[in-house]
Structure formats: structure tokens, C-alpha cells
């Protein structure tokens, strides 16, 4: 139960602080990410990047994604039956509802579910490192 402003995350600073160089390909990819309202996959990011600089390679997209994931700047989601999709890590934690017809991703959050997960893990003798909760659904036909 919360709103989620998306304060275009300052990737460049984050990268600098992690000791990495700001290159042209990276700058372009970062721009694409901060503008993305959806959850694009590597190929889609690549397509958008090529439109800005024809020289960019898919490998660089993948490498940059891994890098950003490594410093915690983005999250990678391996939804069912498709390539990994990415989203800026800015904002609160949330889970995903995937529209199985369109591929659209809707974010949601439930403190109650998180609590229950903790309880369950604890009861089984585990500490949760992370979790994955994805609902795959179809838009309800309102008639």
C-alpha cells in the first residue's frame, strides 16, 4: 500500500561510485533504462539503443545489465517462457502480475504476504534471502 514515484535513478553516479567508467554505450543504455516505463528484455533494450547509436552491440547490453544488476541498480526478472526482463531497482520492493495475453507487467505489493513468507520460512528453519512471487493472469472480462 504505497505509491511509487520513479525518481529517475542516477545511474551514472552509481556506476562512478562502483568504480566503473562512463562510456558512450553505457550512457545510452542507462538513458533507456531510466526512461523505460515497462520491463524490457535485453533485445528490446538493444533495439532502442541501436536507434540512438547504430554501433552498439548486444553483448554490451548484456554486459551492462549484469553490471548494473551486480551493483544493485536494476533487477532481473526471469518470467515464464521468455528472456530475462529488467527494471530499475529504484522504488520499493514489489512483486509482479503478468498479463499472459499481452506480456504486460503490473507491480503490486503486499506486506501481509511478505510477513507470511517470513513465518513460513522461519517455521521451516530457513532465512529468506530473496523470493519470487509472480501471478500469471488474464484480464477479467467485464460484461
Amino acid at each position: 500500500m504505497n505509491e511509487m514515484a520513479n525518481p529517475a535513478p542516477d545511474y551514472e553516479t552509481a556506476l562512478r561510485e562502483a568504480g566503473m567508467r562512463i562510456t558512450r554505450p553505457r550512457r545510452i543504455i542507462l538513458a533507456i533504462l531510466s526512461e523505460a516505463g515497462d520491463h524490457p528484455d535485453a533485445m528490446e533494450i538493444f533495439r532502442r539503443a541501436v536507434e540512438i547509436d547504430r554501433g552498439i552491440s548486444l553483448s554490451t547490453v548484456y554486459r551492462t545489465m549484469k553490471l548494473l544488476e551486480g551493483i544493485g541498480a536494476i533487477h532481473r526478472h526471469a518470467f515464464e517462457g521468455g528472456p530475462s526482463r529488467f527494471e530499475p531497482a529504484a522504488g520499493d520492493h514489489h512483486d509482479h502480475l503478468i498479463d499472459i495475453d499481452t506480456g504486460d507487467v503490473i507491480e503490486f505489493q503486499s506486506d501481509r504476504i511478505e510477513e507470511l513468507q517470513q513465518e513460513i520460512a522461519r517455521a521451516l528453519g530457513y532465512d529468506i534471502v530473496h523470493h519470487r512471487l509472480e501471478l500469471y493472469g488474464r484480464r477479467r472480462r467485464r460484461k
Copy 2:
């Protein structure tokens, strides 16, 4: 949370009813599945199968898995960072807690969480077709 007896499912009958032939490779794979207490991946099933009949091919394992999945006899789980793993569909619905150190899979079930998922989807205008809830954790060190 609950325990789960595993009443060796009658795959052969299920296959017959689906109009499929009972071949030697299939019989072997089915036997492996009904004996499996774990959640083996295709390669592991293949290894176990080869031990019974050296002639079996990995493609056949994959094809048979897809078939069984199709008739709802098994479930496929694509846990993070590894190949798909399979389990007999017999027994109640449950979710999974994956031990990130050992790969062990622990099954659990929470009606409350299922309810909350329904509520959430409904509130967003969706019907849930299926869902995926996986907890990735580490055994708590008891001191």
C-alpha cells in the same frame, strides 16, 4: 503448511487415457518419476534412465516431460539459475522453498497466501491462471 504423502501416480493409465503409446523408454522414465523423492531435472532423469537402458536419448526425456506436462501429470519448475526441474503432479498444490546452498526443495502451502493473491489479482482486474511463489533461503544456523 502440511505434509504430503506421495501415492505413486498411475502414469501409464493416464498416458493410455490420453491416447498415447506405452513404449519402453516411457515406461522407464515414468518409473523414475514415480520413485523420485526429489525434483530432478531432465539431465538427471536421463542419467537415471540410462542406467536402466543404455539406449535412451535425452530428447526422449524432454519429449516425454513435455507430454506429461501437457496432460497435467507432472509440473515443471524453472527455479532460478538452473534447468527446469520436474515433479509428479499428484498431491495438493504447494509452493517451494529452495535451499540456495544445497539446491534442496522444500514444499509448503499456505491457504492464507493463496487467498491474498486472489484478492490482489481481483483488485487489479485479473483472474489468476497460475502463479509462482518461490522462497530462496539459507538454513538458519541454530546456535
